[in-house]
């Protein structure tokens, strides 16, 4: 008898559990947590760039997927390539779950390569997801005589960049050192637009920015002109996954020797972190799964995708859990020996 009662009890419990909403799978797990509340998203750049545009688009669309439909506002705290805001987020941002950040895509690379400037630990942030992938795409003028990366083994090219901490410096530098390419780097252009203008002026022949920058600033470079010529071509890319717009452009990690692969792995986080959202360390654990679910729904929502498209933004989503995994793995790979080798290769010291 007791056994039968127990069996019914256990069976009933199973049914109840099966019927009850899973907090990990639905935004409903948040209950009234965000009801009548305001969420503030911080960006480490001005509103003019893609950080500003993505964050404002997310702020408009994400509330409808979060129980309680909170209001989301965006604040900008620019400086030091996003490090200033990220330091603030790590040290002083309220941890109640109402203050989030759009982490700079260089968050891991900066921490590993320039540790004396950062006061955060990237792996302690909790990623909710990313709405765009920002692989670095190495583009060259076609009149440089380069049509594939191997050509740079024979032909010397001049490559512009915005400064030693930037992707426009790092990726060509790694290509030069890891693949033995003849690259001369010219540093110091102020921002991507001016670097691209200098490339058009012929002052240098190529550089590395994410595909969104290339395709929104100079889309006509990649189409045939009236003489049937194209002005510039993507030659190499770095990231975790290939950019879907550039399936035929080789990934650097497939070309380098095994000894360089750990360095490429943490550089690749740039691409996967892209433009997304994260919670500061110490935020309540119970909100993570429902917020990740809400984020995942938003990036699939046709209305959000259409709004992003209208703003000339791409939606190439990555889940929060995936980013978290890659960030943790990048740290695991970046042992002191690898980091020292990377620094020596990149900065020569």
């Amino acid at each position: 008898m007791i056994g039968r009662i127990s069996a019914i009890f256990v069976g009933g419990l199973v049914v109840l559990l099966a019927l009850s909403p899973s907090p990990g799978a639905s935004a409903q797990g948040l209950g009234d947590f965000y009801k009548n509340k305001t969420i503030t998203i911080y960006i480490g750049y001005g509103f003019g760039g893609t950080y500003g545009k993505y964050s404002r688009t997310m702020a408009e669309h994400l509330p409808k997927f979060i129980a309680g439909n909170p209001k989301i506002i965006v604040k900008s705290q620019p400086g030091a390539g996003g490090i200033k805001m990220t330091n603030y987020a790590y040290k002083a941002m309220p941890k109640g779950g109402y203050h989030w950040l759009v982490p700079p895509d260089t968050i891991v690379v900066s921490e590993i390569l320039r540790p004396n400037k950062v006061k955060y630990r990237a792996k302690e942030f909790t990623w909710l997801g990313s709405t765009n992938q920002t692989n670095t795409i190495f583009v060259l003028r076609t009149d440089s005589g380069i049509s594939k990366w191997q050509d740079m083994k024979k032909t010397r090219v001049i490559i512009g960049n915005t400064g030693p901490g930037s992707t426009s410096f790092l990726i060509p530098r790694m290509a030069k050192m890891m693949l033995g390419l003849k690259i001369k780097q010219v540093s110091g252009y102020k921002g991507s637009s001016k670097t691209i203008l200098a490339m058009e002026q012929g002052e240098h022949q190529g550089t590395g920015f994410n595909w969104l920058a290339w395709s929104s600033k100079v889309p006509h470079w990649f189409k045939k002109d009236k003489n049937g010529k194209i002005f510039a071509k993507a030659i190499l890319q770095t990231g975790v996954w290939k950019d879907p717009a550039l399936p035929n452009v080789p990934m650097m990690r497939d070309l380098v020797a095994d000894k360089h692969k750990p360095i490429i792995a943490f550089m690749a986080t740039l691409g996967i972190i892209g433009r997304g959202l994260a919670l500061p360390p110490g935020a309540p654990k119970k909100i993570v799964a429902p917020l990740r679910a809400a984020f995942a729904k938003m990036v699939k929502d046709p209305v959000y995708i259409a709004a992003a498209k209208k703003r000339r933004l791409r939606v190439l989503p990555t889940s929060g859990a995936d980013i978290q995994d890659f960030v943790i793995k990048a740290y695991a790979n970046a042992n002191p020996k690898v980091v020292a080798a990377a620094r020596k290769m990149i900065f020569g010291k």
Binding site: T38, T40, Y42, G46, F47, G48, G49, G52, K53, R56, I73, V74, K75, S76, Q77, P78, G79, A80, I83, K84, N87, Y88, A92, P94, G96, Y98, H99, R114, K117, I158, T162, G163, P164, G165, V186, S187, G188, Y189, K190, S193, K194, I196, L197, A198, E200, Q201, G202, E203, H204, S216, K217, V218, P219, H220, K310, R311, R312, F347
Partner: protein, 716 residues
């Protein structure tokens, strides 16, 4: 202009004449005017805020709205510049030099009349040049590469020689201070963090807003407070008649307007020069080209206002050119307008100059209309605004200071902005008192980073070929032409002066004598400057070669100039007066007497009569009174800062307003609260609610972090 261009221009005019579009243009103009008046805010803030609202508009309306806003910010920024000596935006810093002395002389209305008229004409001229140059702009911009930019920046820097007046060594040393400050931050060549003192604040370099406000606003308010006078005692300050005088001044100097507007448009069109440089180059040009400018400029000459104002409005038209033709924003505001382009499916680039000319001409018409409307509105209210010059100093000083504090904080939303404001405020006040010209410092600062950047790129890319008229086989004459102009500008007055002295029978011989009486505060300041340069060399000794090269060259030059200044003040008796007296009188006694006067104040007055900066005039006040009042003033500023770090900048602003007005200004409680409460509420609504300013971390916030989670109370 071919038919298709004309068609596009007409089509754009018809599109823009739609009442709804005109209303949005008008709204943009109104917002732009308000933002221009508030120091620290400008077109960038307004456009960031309004960009999302333009998504649902059609492209013509959106662009009219945004251009309306950005075109007129530099029209209304004249108002605080003239009335208080506080630049509304960095683009109007040069307006202060003559605009503010005009207000003090009771000529605020005339200054406004001249400024608004030059703004309108400058803006229209900029729009016209934009319209005319659209078809040919791409090949021109493609010619201006890093070596050309470097040459232009060096030309700008050569104006230091002009702006230094008759104190070239002080001017050059001041420029070196500015240049050295500009090297702070993450070095773009080597990645070395220069002078950042382990703080992220200076990582991107010092922002220009707190520096400009510190150098000009804080000292001007200090002197108002010390003399305890209203800005002007003249009740007729802003009458329509005096404004009309200003309008007539502009037409009398029409060629100056066109020259400066051309400078504004051309430099505005070059990406990488920046708004903060243009007004100074135009002002320097006016000083150099106008005969006897040394006697009146810096003392309230309307032509100084005209030069600065016609150039800064014209630059908006220019800044549109690279934005349209290449998608490269000519200014920070243009980056947001570029964002609007993309959202509305417009691709900047060659198509904007062919297929989408209608859009391009919508921009041209918007700039033109906005300038007329903005200038007109300013005229309408100018006579009321000019009456602010009559407000008691006990009320005016705290209000202007409070806004300056919050405005400076908009530089980069960090405590560092307030530190910079206070440090440069004190330096600016000392410089003003000791008659060190401040314009060379700010010119050195705004050009310093650019010169270093373009020099490294040019040398790295072309080696020494960047200087030559052929680069990689291509004919590139611009660098040589600009350098020739620079040399002509610098050498001509030196040679002319030498020849004139020789012709007039004056001697070019100097005599040497130790002048103990010159061991005064001026000399101690010079010693301090030398010590600062030496410390900079010491601190940067361990940097990589590429990182320390430019700072070291500047610091050694600074030591040379300041050392020369110290030597000449302590030991050199200049020839002119000595020789003239010798020639006229021929007696040993007279020569001795002349030598005596040349060592004292009389000599200084003669030596420094050409001074392109506002001069301190304390009337009959003795040194002790001046020192006590100055100490109290800076004490109040320090108290504002200290309470701010404990209870937050905005709450501290309220305490400061009340405390200063009631206890320093001796106003009644009623007047104090009538002004402080509405002013604080407006500031709260504007900065906290509307602009979503991220306030600095404070002790109170660290103790009660939950306060930061409440949006309306997140001030700490």
């Amino acid at each position: 202009m071919d038919a298709s261009v004309l068609d596009a221009a007409i089509k754009a005019a018809v599109m823009l004449s739609d009442p709804l579009r005109l209303s949005f243009l008008g709204l943009g103009v109104l917002i732009g005017l308000v933002l221009g008046v508030i120091p620290g805010l400008g077109g960038l803030v307004g456009l960031s805020l309004l960009l999302p609202f333009t998504f649902t508009m059609d492209p013509y309306t959106a662009l009219a709205f945004m251009m309306g806003l950005s075109s007129v910010v530099v029209t209304s920024d004249t108002i605080p510049a003239v009335l208080f000596g506080v630049p509304g935006t960095v683009g109007s810093a040069a307006t202060i030099l003559d605009g503010y002395p005009m207000a003090r002389k009771g000529e605020a209305g005339r200054a406004f009349g001249a400024a608004f008229t030059s703004s309108i004409i400058g803006g229209l001229y900029g729009a016209m040049l934009l319209a005319l140059s659209v078809p040919i702009i791409r090949p021109i911009i493609l010619q201006i590469t890093s070596p050309e930019l470097l040459a232009i920046c060096i030309f700008g820097l050569s104006l230091v020689a002009v702006l230094s007046g008759s104190t070239p060594l002080k001017g050059l040393a001041a420029a070196c201070i500015g240049l050295l400050v500009a090297t702070a931050g993450d070095d773009p060549q080597t990645g070395t963090l220069r002078w950042t003192f382990d703080s992220l604040y200076l990582y991107d370099g010092l922002p220009v807003v707190p520096l400009a406000l510190g150098l000009f606003a804080v000292p001007e308010i200090a002197d108002m407070v010390i003399t305890r006078q209203t800005i002007s005692g003249n009740a007729d300050a802003g009458s329509r008649w005096s404004q009309w005088q200003g309008v007539k001044d502009v037409f009398r100097n029409k060629f100056l307007v066109f020259r400066c507007a051309t400078i504004g448009t051309c430099l505005g069109a070059i990406p990488g020069i920046g708004a903060s440089v243009i007004d100074w180059i135009a002002y320097g040009h006016a000083v150099r080209s106008i005969k006897d400018s040394g006697k009146t400029f810096g003392k309230g000459d309307v032509r100084g206002v005209i030069a600065s104002e016609s150039s800064n409005n014209a630059k908006e038209g220019g800044a549109l050119l690279p934005t349209i033709a290449f998608g490269v924003p000519g200014s920070a505001s243009m980056a947001l307008i570029l964002g609007a382009f993309l959202i509305h499916g417009l691709e900047p680039g060659p198509k904007m100059l062919t297929e989408r000319l209608d859009i391009t001409y919508t921009l041209v018409w918007s700039v033109a209309l906005a300038n007329i409307l903005g200038g007109g509105l300013c005229f309408l209210f100018a006579n009321q605004l000019a009456k602010i010059a009559l407000v008691r100093i006990g009320i005016l000083a705290p209000v202007v200071l409070a806004v300056t504090f919050i405005g400076a904080y908009q530089g980069s939303n960090a405590w560092g902005d307030i530190y910079a404001l206070l440090i440069f405020g004190f330096i600016g006040w000392v410089m003003k008192r000791l008659r060190w010209p401040r314009p060379p410092l700010i010119l050195g600062f705004v050009l310093g980073g650019l010169v270093e950047r373009y020099m490294f790129i040019s040398v790295e890319r072309y080696d020494w070929e960047w200087l030559w008229i052929f680069r990689e086989g291509k004919f590139t004459p611009w660098v040589s032409i600009i350098f020739a102009m620079t040399l002509y500008g610098v050498l001509r007055p030196i040679i002319k002066g030498y020849m004139e002295r020789a012709k007039s029978g004056g001697s070019n011989k100097y005599s040497i004598k130790f002048r103990r009486e010159n061991l005064d505060p001026n000399m101690y300041f010079s010693f301090g400057v030398v010590a600062t340069f030496a410390t900079c060399i010491y601190l940067s000794w361990g940097w990589e070669f590429g990182a320390r090269l430019v700072p070291h060259v500047i610091a050694y030059a600074g030591i040379l100039f300041t050392g020369g200044l110290i030597f000449s003040d302590l030991f050199v008796v200049p020839p002119s007066k000595f020789a003239a007296v010798e020639g006229e009188e021929g007696t040993a006694a007279a020569v001795e007497e002349a030598r005596g006067t040349t060592t004292g104040d009389a000599f200084k007055a003669e030596q420094e009569e050409v001074h392109f900066d506002i001069q301190a005039d304390y009337g009959d006040l003795d040194v002790k009174t001046i020192s006590i009042r100055a100490a109290r003033y800076f004490g109040w500023l320090a108290a504002f800062f200290a309470t701010g770090s404990v209870i937050g900048l905005l709450p501290s602003m309220f305490l400061f307003l009340v405390g200063y007005m009631r206890f320093e200004g001796k106003e009644s409680w009623k007047v104090t609260l009538y002004i402080a409460v509405p002013m604080w509420i407006c500031s709260y609504l504007l900065f906290h609610t509307l602009l979503l300013v991220q306030w600095p971390q404070t002790v109170l916030g660290d103790f009660f972090p939950e306060l930061r989670s409440i949006e309306w109370a997140n001030l700490f």
